[in-house]
Amino acid sequence: MPEMLSLSNDPILFIAVMLAKILAVFVVLLLIVAYATYAERKIIGHMQTRLGPTMTGPLGLLQPIADGLKLFFKEDIIPAQASKVAFILAPMMILVPAFITVAVVPFGGDVVIGGYTVPLQIADLDVGILFILAMEGLGVYGIVLAGWASNNKYSLLGGIRSAAQVISYELAAGLSIVAVFMLAETLSLRGIVEAQSGSMFNWFVFSQPLAFCVFFITSVAEINRVPFDLPEAETELVSGFCTEYSSMKYALFFMAEYANMVVVAAVISTLFLGGPAGPFPGVINLLLKIFFFMFVLIWMRATFPRVRYDQLMFMGWKVFLPLALLNIVITGAVIVL
Protein backbone atom coordinates (compact mmCIF):
# COMPACT_ATOMS: atom_id res chain seq x y z
CA MET A 1 0.00 0.00 0.00
CA PRO A 2 1.43 3.42 -0.91
CA GLU A 3 1.78 6.17 1.62
CA MET A 4 -1.36 7.88 2.95
CA LEU A 5 -2.16 11.19 1.30
CA SER A 6 -1.84 14.06 3.76
CA LEU A 7 -1.37 17.79 3.90
CA SER A 8 2.38 17.40 4.31
CA ASN A 9 3.23 15.16 1.35
CA ASP A 10 1.10 16.74 -1.39
CA PRO A 11 -0.89 19.74 -0.18
CA ILE A 12 -2.52 20.63 -3.50
CA LEU A 13 -3.70 17.15 -4.31
CA PHE A 14 -4.82 16.73 -0.72
CA ILE A 15 -6.99 19.83 -0.78
CA ALA A 16 -8.40 18.97 -4.18
CA VAL A 17 -9.27 15.45 -3.12
CA MET A 18 -10.72 16.71 0.13
CA LEU A 19 -12.95 19.22 -1.62
CA ALA A 20 -14.08 16.59 -4.08
CA LYS A 21 -14.95 14.24 -1.26
CA ILE A 22 -16.82 16.89 0.68
CA LEU A 23 -18.70 17.99 -2.39
CA ALA A 24 -19.61 14.44 -3.34
CA VAL A 25 -20.82 13.54 0.13
CA PHE A 26 -22.73 16.77 0.46
CA VAL A 27 -24.47 16.43 -2.87
CA VAL A 28 -25.33 12.80 -2.30
CA LEU A 29 -26.64 13.61 1.16
CA LEU A 30 -28.79 16.44 -0.14
CA LEU A 31 -30.16 14.22 -2.86
CA ILE A 32 -30.99 11.50 -0.41
CA VAL A 33 -32.64 14.02 1.89
CA ALA A 34 -34.73 15.45 -0.92
CA TYR A 35 -35.80 12.09 -2.20
CA ALA A 36 -36.31 10.70 1.28
CA THR A 37 -39.27 13.05 1.61
CA TYR A 38 -40.56 11.75 -1.68
CA ALA A 39 -39.94 8.14 -0.70
CA GLU A 40 -41.64 8.63 2.62
CA ARG A 41 -44.72 10.07 1.01
CA LYS A 42 -44.82 7.37 -1.61
CA ILE A 43 -44.22 4.47 0.74
CA ILE A 44 -46.59 5.62 3.42
CA GLY A 45 -49.08 6.50 0.74
CA HIS A 46 -49.06 3.01 -0.68
CA MET A 47 -49.15 1.45 2.76
CA GLN A 48 -52.27 3.48 3.36
CA THR A 49 -53.83 2.46 0.06
CA ARG A 50 -53.18 5.88 -1.39
CA LEU A 51 -50.79 6.81 -4.16
CA GLY A 52 -48.63 9.57 -2.76
CA PRO A 53 -47.49 12.36 -5.05
CA THR A 54 -48.33 11.71 -8.70
CA MET A 55 -48.87 15.08 -10.32
CA THR A 56 -45.50 16.80 -10.45
CA GLY A 57 -43.45 15.18 -13.15
CA PRO A 58 -43.53 11.50 -14.04
CA LEU A 59 -44.68 9.54 -10.97
CA GLY A 60 -44.46 12.76 -9.02
CA LEU A 61 -40.68 12.60 -9.11
CA LEU A 62 -40.32 16.37 -9.17
CA GLN A 63 -42.28 16.73 -5.97
CA PRO A 64 -39.28 17.49 -3.70
CA ILE A 65 -38.22 20.24 -6.06
CA ALA A 66 -41.71 21.67 -6.17
CA ASP A 67 -41.87 21.55 -2.38
CA GLY A 68 -38.54 23.25 -2.07
CA LEU A 69 -39.53 26.00 -4.49
CA LYS A 70 -42.80 26.49 -2.75
CA LEU A 71 -41.22 26.83 0.65
CA PHE A 72 -38.57 29.12 -0.78
CA PHE A 73 -41.12 31.57 -2.10
CA LYS A 74 -43.30 31.56 0.96
CA GLU A 75 -43.46 34.56 3.21
CA ASP A 76 -40.99 34.27 6.04
CA ILE A 77 -42.83 35.12 9.21
CA ILE A 78 -41.07 35.94 12.44
CA PRO A 79 -43.55 36.31 15.27
CA ALA A 80 -43.52 39.78 16.82
CA GLN A 81 -42.80 38.52 20.30
CA ALA A 82 -40.15 36.02 19.26
CA SER A 83 -36.56 36.36 20.24
CA LYS A 84 -35.21 37.21 16.84
CA VAL A 85 -31.61 36.09 16.86
CA ALA A 86 -32.35 32.78 18.48
CA PHE A 87 -35.33 32.28 16.24
CA ILE A 88 -33.20 32.66 13.13
CA LEU A 89 -30.29 30.72 14.53
CA ALA A 90 -32.25 27.69 15.66
CA PRO A 91 -32.94 26.04 12.30
CA MET A 92 -29.30 26.30 11.33
CA MET A 93 -28.23 24.85 14.62
CA ILE A 94 -30.29 21.84 13.86
CA LEU A 95 -29.21 21.32 10.30
CA VAL A 96 -25.47 21.90 10.57
CA PRO A 97 -24.68 19.20 13.13
CA ALA A 98 -26.75 16.76 11.15
CA PHE A 99 -24.66 17.39 8.05
CA ILE A 100 -21.33 17.54 9.86
CA THR A 101 -21.79 14.11 11.34
CA VAL A 102 -21.49 12.49 7.95
CA ALA A 103 -17.89 13.65 7.75
CA VAL A 104 -16.63 10.79 9.86
CA VAL A 105 -18.62 8.03 8.22
CA PRO A 106 -16.39 5.93 5.95
CA PHE A 107 -18.11 5.25 2.67
CA GLY A 108 -15.70 2.86 1.07
CA GLY A 109 -12.32 1.25 1.33
CA ASP A 110 -9.10 2.99 0.35
CA VAL A 111 -8.34 4.01 -3.22
CA VAL A 112 -5.05 5.00 -4.77
CA ILE A 113 -4.89 8.44 -6.37
CA GLY A 114 -1.68 9.89 -7.78
CA GLY A 115 0.46 7.40 -5.98
CA TYR A 116 -1.06 8.00 -2.57
CA THR A 117 -3.63 6.08 -0.62
CA VAL A 118 -6.82 8.03 -0.13
CA PRO A 119 -9.38 6.83 2.41
CA LEU A 120 -12.97 7.21 1.30
CA GLN A 121 -13.95 9.16 4.34
CA ILE A 122 -13.86 12.90 4.84
CA ALA A 123 -12.17 12.88 8.21
CA ASP A 124 -10.90 9.90 10.14
CA LEU A 125 -11.09 11.16 13.69
CA ASP A 126 -9.64 8.97 16.37
CA VAL A 127 -12.68 9.71 18.45
CA GLY A 128 -15.10 9.50 15.55
CA ILE A 129 -17.83 7.91 17.52
CA LEU A 130 -17.65 10.45 20.29
CA PHE A 131 -17.83 13.12 17.63
CA ILE A 132 -21.05 11.63 16.34
CA LEU A 133 -22.59 11.46 19.78
CA ALA A 134 -21.53 15.03 20.45
CA MET A 135 -23.03 16.30 17.24
CA GLU A 136 -26.28 14.50 17.85
CA GLY A 137 -26.33 16.11 21.25
CA LEU A 138 -25.74 19.51 19.71
CA GLY A 139 -28.70 19.16 17.41
CA VAL A 140 -31.04 19.29 20.34
CA TYR A 141 -29.94 22.82 21.15
CA GLY A 142 -31.53 23.92 17.94
CA ILE A 143 -34.82 22.34 18.94
CA VAL A 144 -34.79 23.75 22.44
CA LEU A 145 -33.83 27.14 21.12
CA ALA A 146 -36.53 27.03 18.48
CA GLY A 147 -39.08 26.10 21.11
CA TRP A 148 -38.01 28.82 23.43
CA ALA A 149 -37.45 31.58 20.88
CA SER A 150 -40.83 31.14 19.24
CA ASN A 151 -42.49 32.41 22.38
CA ASN A 152 -45.32 30.01 21.87
CA LYS A 153 -46.46 27.63 24.55
CA TYR A 154 -46.78 24.66 22.28
CA SER A 155 -43.31 25.25 20.90
CA LEU A 156 -41.96 25.58 24.40
CA LEU A 157 -43.48 22.28 25.42
CA GLY A 158 -42.02 20.69 22.32
CA GLY A 159 -38.60 22.11 23.09
CA ILE A 160 -38.65 20.93 26.67
CA ARG A 161 -39.81 17.50 25.69
CA SER A 162 -37.01 17.31 23.19
CA ALA A 163 -34.36 18.30 25.70
CA ALA A 164 -35.47 15.71 28.20
CA GLN A 165 -35.81 13.07 25.53
CA VAL A 166 -32.42 13.56 23.97
CA ILE A 167 -30.59 13.68 27.28
CA SER A 168 -32.14 10.45 28.46
CA TYR A 169 -31.74 8.61 25.23
CA GLU A 170 -28.26 9.78 24.46
CA LEU A 171 -27.09 8.13 27.59
CA ALA A 172 -28.53 4.79 26.62
CA ALA A 173 -27.38 5.18 23.02
CA GLY A 174 -23.85 6.01 24.12
CA LEU A 175 -23.69 3.15 26.55
CA SER A 176 -25.08 0.64 24.12
CA ILE A 177 -22.22 1.18 21.71
CA VAL A 178 -19.57 0.97 24.36
CA ALA A 179 -19.74 -2.75 23.82
CA VAL A 180 -18.86 -2.15 20.18
CA PHE A 181 -15.70 -0.25 21.11
CA MET A 182 -14.79 -2.97 23.50
CA LEU A 183 -14.86 -5.45 20.67
CA ALA A 184 -13.26 -3.17 18.10
CA GLU A 185 -10.78 -1.72 20.55
CA THR A 186 -10.94 1.65 18.84
CA LEU A 187 -13.16 4.72 18.70
CA SER A 188 -12.41 5.54 15.09
CA LEU A 189 -15.13 4.56 12.69
CA ARG A 190 -12.56 3.39 10.20
CA GLY A 191 -11.16 1.09 12.82
CA ILE A 192 -14.58 -0.22 13.65
CA VAL A 193 -15.26 -0.98 10.01
CA GLU A 194 -11.94 -2.77 9.74
CA ALA A 195 -12.73 -4.80 12.81
CA GLN A 196 -15.84 -6.08 11.04
CA SER A 197 -14.15 -6.90 7.77
CA GLY A 198 -13.80 -10.40 6.46
CA SER A 199 -16.95 -12.41 6.40
CA MET A 200 -20.43 -11.09 6.99
CA PHE A 201 -20.52 -12.86 10.31
CA ASN A 202 -17.94 -10.53 11.70
CA TRP A 203 -20.53 -7.80 11.65
CA PHE A 204 -21.28 -6.62 15.13
CA VAL A 205 -24.97 -7.06 14.65
CA PHE A 206 -24.36 -10.78 15.12
CA SER A 207 -22.08 -10.55 18.08
CA GLN A 208 -23.93 -7.65 19.69
CA PRO A 209 -27.62 -8.11 18.89
CA LEU A 210 -28.74 -6.50 22.13
CA ALA A 211 -26.55 -3.45 21.59
CA PHE A 212 -27.87 -3.22 18.06
CA CYS A 213 -31.49 -3.21 19.18
CA VAL A 214 -30.93 -0.74 21.97
CA PHE A 215 -28.92 1.57 19.77
CA PHE A 216 -31.46 1.43 16.99
CA ILE A 217 -34.39 2.24 19.23
CA THR A 218 -32.62 4.95 21.15
CA SER A 219 -31.44 6.51 17.92
CA VAL A 220 -34.96 6.61 16.64
CA ALA A 221 -35.88 8.41 19.81
CA GLU A 222 -32.98 10.78 19.45
CA ILE A 223 -33.96 11.92 16.01
CA ASN A 224 -37.60 12.29 17.06
CA ARG A 225 -39.09 9.84 14.66
CA VAL A 226 -42.32 7.96 15.20
CA PRO A 227 -43.06 6.37 17.65
CA PHE A 228 -40.96 8.85 19.60
CA ASP A 229 -41.83 12.04 17.75
CA LEU A 230 -42.98 13.80 20.89
CA PRO A 231 -41.36 17.19 20.27
CA GLU A 232 -43.47 17.57 17.16
CA ALA A 233 -46.45 15.39 18.04
CA GLU A 234 -48.72 17.25 15.71
CA THR A 235 -51.89 15.92 17.24
CA GLU A 236 -50.85 17.10 20.68
CA LEU A 237 -48.60 20.10 20.26
CA VAL A 238 -49.89 21.30 16.89
CA SER A 239 -46.42 21.06 15.42
CA GLY A 240 -44.28 21.28 18.51
CA PHE A 241 -41.12 23.29 18.31
CA CYS A 242 -41.58 24.31 14.68
CA THR A 243 -45.15 25.57 15.04
CA GLU A 244 -44.17 29.17 14.39
CA TYR A 245 -41.75 28.54 11.57
CA SER A 246 -42.50 29.14 7.94
CA SER A 247 -40.77 29.37 4.60
CA MET A 248 -37.12 28.35 4.32
CA LYS A 249 -36.64 28.13 8.06
CA TYR A 250 -39.28 25.47 8.20
CA ALA A 251 -37.61 23.79 5.26
CA LEU A 252 -34.39 23.64 7.24
CA PHE A 253 -36.14 21.81 10.07
CA PHE A 254 -37.67 19.53 7.56
CA MET A 255 -34.32 18.80 5.93
CA ALA A 256 -32.70 18.30 9.30
CA GLU A 257 -35.23 15.64 10.17
CA TYR A 258 -34.38 13.67 7.06
CA ALA A 259 -30.68 14.39 7.28
CA ASN A 260 -30.79 12.96 10.76
CA MET A 261 -32.47 9.88 9.42
CA VAL A 262 -29.68 9.43 6.91
CA VAL A 263 -27.04 9.98 9.55
CA VAL A 264 -28.54 7.51 11.95
CA ALA A 265 -28.92 4.96 9.22
CA ALA A 266 -25.31 5.52 8.17
CA VAL A 267 -24.00 5.26 11.71
CA ILE A 268 -25.90 2.08 12.42
CA SER A 269 -24.72 0.57 9.17
CA THR A 270 -21.17 1.49 10.03
CA LEU A 271 -21.22 0.31 13.61
CA PHE A 272 -23.17 -2.86 13.23
CA LEU A 273 -23.38 -3.85 9.60
CA GLY A 274 -19.80 -3.49 8.49
CA GLY A 275 -20.25 -0.12 6.81
CA PRO A 276 -19.25 -0.35 3.17
CA ALA A 277 -18.60 -4.09 3.31
CA GLY A 278 -20.71 -6.28 1.07
CA PRO A 279 -21.01 -7.77 -2.39
CA PHE A 280 -21.08 -4.49 -4.36
CA PRO A 281 -18.55 -1.65 -4.57
CA GLY A 282 -18.25 0.00 -1.15
CA VAL A 283 -20.41 3.09 -1.58
CA ILE A 284 -23.29 1.14 -3.00
CA ASN A 285 -23.27 -1.27 -0.10
CA LEU A 286 -23.38 1.56 2.34
CA LEU A 287 -26.16 3.30 0.44
CA LEU A 288 -28.18 0.11 0.30
CA LYS A 289 -27.85 -0.32 4.03
CA ILE A 290 -28.81 3.29 4.60
CA PHE A 291 -31.86 2.92 2.39
CA PHE A 292 -32.85 -0.21 4.22
CA PHE A 293 -32.80 1.52 7.58
CA MET A 294 -34.62 4.52 6.25
CA PHE A 295 -37.28 2.25 4.87
CA VAL A 296 -37.65 0.68 8.28
CA LEU A 297 -38.01 4.10 9.85
CA ILE A 298 -40.68 5.05 7.37
CA TRP A 299 -42.39 1.72 7.81
CA MET A 300 -42.49 2.22 11.54
CA ARG A 301 -43.98 5.63 11.06
CA ALA A 302 -46.79 4.13 9.05
CA THR A 303 -47.50 1.50 11.65
CA PHE A 304 -47.02 2.59 15.22
CA PRO A 305 -48.85 4.92 17.53
CA ARG A 306 -46.92 7.49 19.50
CA VAL A 307 -45.72 6.79 23.02
CA ARG A 308 -46.48 9.15 25.84
CA TYR A 309 -43.95 11.46 27.43
CA ASP A 310 -43.75 9.72 30.80
CA GLN A 311 -43.62 6.29 29.17
CA LEU A 312 -40.79 7.48 26.99
CA MET A 313 -38.83 8.60 30.01
CA PHE A 314 -39.61 5.38 31.78
CA MET A 315 -38.33 3.33 28.89
CA GLY A 316 -35.22 5.44 28.50
CA TRP A 317 -34.12 5.25 32.09
CA LYS A 318 -35.54 2.00 33.31
CA VAL A 319 -35.39 -0.25 30.28
CA PHE A 320 -32.79 0.83 27.78
CA LEU A 321 -30.20 2.19 30.16
CA PRO A 322 -30.08 -0.98 32.30
CA LEU A 323 -30.10 -3.09 29.15
CA ALA A 324 -27.15 -1.18 27.76
CA LEU A 325 -25.27 -1.54 31.03
CA LEU A 326 -26.05 -5.20 31.21
CA ASN A 327 -24.78 -5.62 27.71
CA ILE A 328 -21.48 -3.97 28.64
CA VAL A 329 -21.08 -6.25 31.60
CA ILE A 330 -21.78 -9.34 29.54
CA THR A 331 -19.47 -8.23 26.76
CA GLY A 332 -16.76 -7.47 29.27
CA ALA A 333 -17.14 -10.83 30.88
CA VAL A 334 -16.98 -12.60 27.54
CA ILE A 335 -13.88 -10.68 26.46
CA VAL A 336 -12.08 -11.38 29.70
CA LEU A 337 -12.92 -15.03 29.62
Binding site: I43, H46, M47, Q48, T49, R50, L51, T54, W299, M300, A302, T303, F304
Partner: protein
Protein backbone atom coordinates in the same frame (compact mmCIF):
# COMPACT_ATOMS: atom_id res chain seq x y z
CA UNK B 1 -45.15 -7.80 22.52
CA UNK B 2 -42.66 -8.28 19.71
CA UNK B 3 -45.12 -10.54 17.96
CA UNK B 4 -47.76 -7.82 17.89
CA UNK B 5 -45.31 -5.27 16.60
CA UNK B 6 -44.38 -7.59 13.79
CA UNK B 7 -48.02 -8.30 13.09
CA UNK B 8 -48.67 -4.59 12.74
CA UNK B 9 -45.69 -4.13 10.48
CA UNK B 10 -46.78 -7.02 8.32
CA UNK B 11 -50.23 -5.50 7.90
CA UNK B 12 -48.80 -2.25 6.60
CA UNK B 13 -46.30 -4.12 4.46
CA UNK B 14 -49.09 -6.18 2.94
CA UNK B 15 -50.85 -3.02 1.86
CA UNK B 16 -47.68 -1.82 0.21
CA UNK B 17 -48.09 -4.45 -2.46
CA UNK B 18 -49.46 -3.06 -5.69
CA UNK B 19 -53.17 -3.22 -6.34
CA UNK B 20 -54.30 -1.99 -2.97
CA UNK B 21 -54.78 1.61 -3.89
CA UNK B 22 -58.27 3.01 -3.61
CA UNK B 23 -57.45 6.46 -4.88
CA UNK B 24 -59.56 7.97 -7.62
CA UNK B 25 -57.15 10.19 -9.49
CA UNK B 26 -59.35 13.22 -9.71
CA UNK B 27 -59.29 15.36 -11.87
CA UNK B 28 -57.71 12.94 -14.34
CA UNK B 29 -60.41 10.43 -13.56
CA UNK B 30 -63.84 11.78 -12.85
CA UNK B 31 -65.95 10.34 -10.10
CA UNK B 32 -69.18 8.97 -11.49
CA UNK B 33 -72.00 9.65 -9.09
CA UNK B 34 -74.88 7.23 -8.67
CA UNK B 35 -78.15 7.80 -10.36
CA UNK B 36 -79.91 9.37 -7.40
CA UNK B 37 -77.09 11.79 -6.71
CA UNK B 38 -78.37 15.18 -5.75
CA UNK B 39 -76.18 17.57 -7.66
CA UNK B 40 -76.89 20.63 -9.74
CA UNK B 41 -80.54 21.13 -10.68
CA UNK B 42 -81.83 20.95 -14.18
CA UNK B 43 -85.08 22.22 -15.56
CA UNK B 44 -86.53 19.67 -17.91
CA UNK B 45 -87.07 21.21 -21.34
CA UNK B 46 -89.95 20.40 -23.63
CA UNK B 47 -91.11 21.61 -27.03
CA UNK B 48 -92.34 24.98 -25.78
CA UNK B 49 -89.27 25.78 -23.75
CA UNK B 50 -89.56 24.21 -20.35
CA UNK B 51 -91.89 21.77 -18.72
CA UNK B 52 -92.27 23.95 -15.67
CA UNK B 53 -95.73 25.44 -15.18
CA UNK B 54 -94.65 27.98 -12.57
CA UNK B 55 -96.77 26.51 -9.85
CA UNK B 56 -94.41 27.64 -7.08
CA UNK B 57 -94.55 24.31 -5.32
CA UNK B 58 -90.79 23.85 -5.42
CA UNK B 59 -90.24 27.33 -4.05
CA UNK B 60 -92.70 26.58 -1.28
CA UNK B 61 -91.12 23.27 -0.43
CA UNK B 62 -87.60 24.61 -0.42
CA UNK B 63 -86.35 24.81 3.17
CA UNK B 64 -83.57 27.18 2.18
CA UNK B 65 -85.87 29.53 0.28
CA UNK B 66 -83.45 29.72 -2.58
CA UNK B 67 -85.79 29.41 -5.56
CA UNK B 68 -87.11 32.58 -7.14
CA UNK B 69 -89.95 32.25 -9.62
CA UNK B 70 -91.89 34.83 -11.55
CA UNK B 71 -94.81 33.50 -13.57
CA UNK B 72 -96.50 34.69 -16.70
CA UNK B 73 -98.89 33.29 -19.26
CA UNK B 74 -98.09 32.74 -22.89
CA UNK B 75 -100.50 33.31 -25.78
CA UNK B 76 -102.08 29.87 -25.28
CA UNK B 77 -102.87 30.62 -21.68
CA UNK B 78 -100.19 28.29 -20.43
CA UNK B 79 -98.34 29.44 -17.35
CA UNK B 80 -94.58 29.50 -17.54
CA UNK B 81 -91.83 31.04 -15.48
CA UNK B 82 -90.33 34.24 -16.83
CA UNK B 83 -87.76 34.07 -14.07
CA UNK B 84 -86.60 30.87 -12.52
CA UNK B 85 -83.51 31.19 -10.39
CA UNK B 86 -81.79 28.96 -7.91
CA UNK B 87 -79.26 30.51 -5.62
CA UNK B 88 -76.82 27.68 -5.13
CA UNK B 89 -75.10 29.49 -2.30
CA UNK B 90 -78.22 28.93 -0.24
CA UNK B 91 -79.26 25.59 -1.63
CA UNK B 92 -78.70 22.66 0.70
CA UNK B 93 -79.29 20.02 -1.98
CA UNK B 94 -82.09 18.42 -0.03
CA UNK B 95 -84.07 17.41 -3.08
CA UNK B 96 -87.38 18.73 -1.77
CA UNK B 97 -87.95 20.79 -4.89
CA UNK B 98 -87.77 17.67 -7.02
CA UNK B 99 -90.02 15.83 -4.63
CA UNK B 100 -92.57 18.63 -4.67
CA UNK B 101 -92.80 19.33 -8.39
CA UNK B 102 -96.11 17.99 -9.67
CA UNK B 103 -95.06 17.80 -13.33
CA UNK B 104 -91.50 16.50 -12.94
CA UNK B 105 -90.17 19.70 -14.42
CA UNK B 106 -87.12 19.89 -12.20
CA UNK B 107 -84.57 17.23 -11.53
CA UNK B 108 -81.16 16.91 -9.99
CA UNK B 109 -78.18 15.86 -12.07
CA UNK B 110 -74.88 14.27 -11.23
CA UNK B 111 -73.04 17.54 -11.77
CA UNK B 112 -70.93 18.20 -8.71
CA UNK B 113 -68.16 20.54 -9.85
CA UNK B 114 -69.88 23.67 -8.74
CA UNK B 115 -67.01 25.93 -7.76
CA UNK B 116 -67.03 29.41 -9.22
CA UNK B 117 -65.06 32.58 -8.89
CA UNK B 118 -67.85 35.13 -8.54
CA UNK B 119 -70.87 35.17 -6.33
CA UNK B 120 -73.07 35.98 -9.31
CA UNK B 121 -72.02 32.78 -10.99
CA UNK B 122 -73.73 30.77 -8.29
CA UNK B 123 -77.07 32.16 -9.30
CA UNK B 124 -78.42 29.71 -11.78
CA UNK B 125 -80.91 31.36 -14.06
CA UNK B 126 -83.50 29.60 -16.16
CA UNK B 127 -81.24 29.54 -19.21
CA UNK B 128 -78.43 27.89 -17.32
CA UNK B 129 -80.74 25.44 -15.61
CA UNK B 130 -82.30 24.36 -18.88
CA UNK B 131 -78.98 23.23 -20.34
Amino acid sequence: MIKEFIQGLSITARHLLPGNSTTVEYPKVKYEPFERFRGLHRLVPDHSGEKCVACYLCATACPAKCITIEADEDENGRKYPTVYQIDLLRCIFCGYCVEACPVEAIEMTGEYELANLNREDFCFTKERLLK
